[in-house]
């Protein structure tokens, strides 16, 4: 079959023209975007103010993390919470002496604190703070449930090792130690706690109980 040279030329011109136009459109869009990108931001006063606030709050957060680190290097005791602020069903996050996340609960049995590492022993995710009906906390990364009393993961969970407990001391308003617990020993009561006035007592972690001091991993 013979092709009409005029038709072929027409198709070629049309095709070439379309290609040229789309190429021009794409190049000019790209060029415009590039110039706009290199020209810097275009923020309204309100946007700039909001953005600066966000930036500052994140800088504050970083600064507070640095302060936590400094405090852990220089202090023998670190305040965690007032006894009255602890809950039996939801843990309070804090940072231990090794700058790892940890959780503080109030024991539903004796009202004393339970301090446990929140760094999952499987792959290091931070476990959740909410207790389920079986007194377990969940690592959402690979679904390991840990019993907060024993620290043990549930049978068949990806995590095999227990979450280590963290030692604590309880001080009264005069900063006198009234009770303490080494991570691997029983609670030592120096003075009987008045369980009706829990806001008189504060919970601290102690450098002497930190895993480096006790030789734990």
């Amino acid at each position: 079959m013979e092709t009409d040279p005029l038709q072929t030329r027409k198709h070629f011109i049309l095709g070439f023209g379309a290609l040229l136009l789309s190429g021009l459109a794409l190049s000019s869009t790209l060029f415009a975007k590039l110039v706009s990108y290199l020209s810097g931001d275009r923020m309204s006063q309100i946007d700039r103010t909001l953005f600066l606030k966000t930036k500052l709050s994140r800088m504050d957060q970083t600064a507070s993390e640095r302060k936590l680190e400094l405090e852990r290097k220089s202090s023998e005791y670190i305040f965690i919470a007032k006894m009255s602020d602890l809950l039996a069903t939801k843990g309070k996050y804090f940072i231990d002496y090794e700058m790892r996340p940890a959780l503080a609960f109030q024991s539903s049995e004796d009202g004393l604190p339970i301090l446990i590492s929140a760094k999952c022993t499987h792959l290091g995710c931070t476990v959740g703070a909410d207790l389920d009906e079986n007194s377990r906390i969940l690592c959402p990364c690979h679904v390991s449930y840990f019993d907060i009393k024993s620290g043990m993961p549930h049978a068949g969970s990806p995590a095999k090792a227990p979450l280590p407990h963290i030692g604590w001391v309880i001080m009264d308003k005069q900063s006198k130690i009234v009770a303490s617990k080494h991570p691997k020993r029983e609670v030592e009561i120096v003075e009987k706690l008045d369980m009706d006035s829990l806001d008189h007592y504060s919970i601290y972690i102690a450098k002497k109980f930190a895993s480096k001091a006790t030789g734990e991993a």
């Binding site: 975007k33 990108y37 930036k55 994140r58 290091g124």
Partner: protein
């Protein structure tokens, strides 16, 4: 005598793989031809990978104009780019989409090269440099994931680095401490923090790109020296000139693919595939949000890690690496038909687990989505 024989053999090996006598414009460009057969489409995949790598370099440099590699500023600087800098969302989307497309093309390029037995003598070094380039690209992907300092990036990095430490449990004596040491060297600190971000930033924008460019240079040079592999058992005898015919065709494919990638980046934010809690700034004092995953191109190892014992995956991973590096010698006498079947099985596994990995995980673990 033995020594000189060994030296002679080494010299022969190198001179056959790098035939310096062929270094000429005539041999490497004018006389180079591209075979024509049913698998010819595979010859475009390497070029496409190069196209996406170029996009990565250009958009990466542009992102560097605004990105700040500190834990307090990284996330907000990315927000600044995408929300307040003109065209910033497009540049970042293009960088993110192009990284995924580059890895996709690279994996397909490797699979087709394997199936076509293009690794055989004298192209062993081209293959090995290709494997190194694949690993470097994975390292770029892994290091880049941390840079926005969002929940998913930081937590996925923590999980990835912690996996290194797990190897220690299977090593004897003092060697057991080695993985932890390696992890801490990569991490730069006892946990994923500013030191990690600084190291990953340096790896992502300086170390890996420099290594990649050097090795890529040798890879391309070697391809030009040896020419295209025939790729099939029964060559058709047809071929086309590399320059200008194939190059022009290559450019045509590049333009179509670039347009598609450009429009995708313009219309679909890469982040739209993750819910906001995962893209929120990393919170060191809070719980890890559910849904932490690596990028899709690590699913082939991520889901098996979730479902099978760690030692088995570590063993299989090292075995796979050894097979990839030694492929030119292991599969020296294997037919193309067998190689094609192996590639088919590998492709079904890779794409199957990438697409259906979560469903498979839910099914096995009894999780209801």
């Amino acid at each position: 005598m033995v020594k000189s024989n060994f030296f002679k053999q080494c010299l022969e090996f190198v001179s056959e793989r790098i035939p310096v006598e062929k270094i000429s414009y005539e041999a490497m460009v004018q006389k180079k031809s591209v075979p024509h057969h049913k698998m010819s489409w595979a010859y475009y995949l390497g070029g496409l990978t190069l196209l996406f790598l170029s996009i990565q370099f250009i958009t990466g440099i542009l992102l560097l104009f605004y990105y700040q590699a500190t834990v307090s500023d990284a996330h907000s600087s990315v927000e600044h780019i995408t929300q307040y800098v003109g065209g910033g969302d497009l540049i970042r989307n293009l960088h993110a989409w192009s990284s995924s497309l580059m890895i996709l093309c690279l994996i397909l390029h490797m699979m087709t090269t394997f199936a076509m037995k293009a690794f055989q003598r004298p192209r062993e070094l081209t293959w090995i440099t290709g494997v190194v380039l694949l690993l470097l690209t994975f390292a770029l992907g892994f290091s880049g994931y941390l840079l926005p300092w969002h929940q998913i990036g930081v937590n996925a990095t923590k999980v990835g680095l912690q996996s290194i430490e797990l190897i220690g449990a299977y090593l004897p004596g003092e060697l057991a401490l080695l993985p932890t040491k390696i992890k801490e060297i990569i991490q730069g600190d006892s946990m994923v923090e500013q030191a990690t971000l600084s190291r990953f930033f340096a790896l992502h924008v300086v170390v890996c790109p420099i290594l990649l460019l050097g090795i890529l240079g040798f890879h391309l040079f070697s391809i030009q020296l040896h020419g295209m592999s025939e790729g099939v058992d029964h060559p058709t005898g047809k071929s086309e000139k590399f320059f200008p015919t194939f190059i022009l065709k290559d450019l045509r494919v590049w333009s179509v693919v670039f347009c598609a990638a450009f429009i995708t980046a313009l219309c679909i934010p890469f982040d739209s595939f993750s819910p906001f809690p995962l893209l929120a700034p990393y919170d060191a004092l809070g719980s890890t949000p559910p849904g932490i995953k690596p990028e899709w191109y690590f699913f082939f190892i991520y889901y098996p890690l979730e479902l099978l014992p760690f030692w088995l995956i570590a063993l299989l991973q090292n075995l796979l690496l050894a097979i990839l590096f030694l492929a030119p010698w292991i599969f020296k006498n294997t037919s193309r038909k067998a190689l094609f079947l192996i590639t088919l099985v590998a492709a079904i596994y890779f794409f199957g687990i990438t697409i259906f990995g979560q469903d498979l995980y839910n099914l096995i673990m009894g999780v209801h989505s």
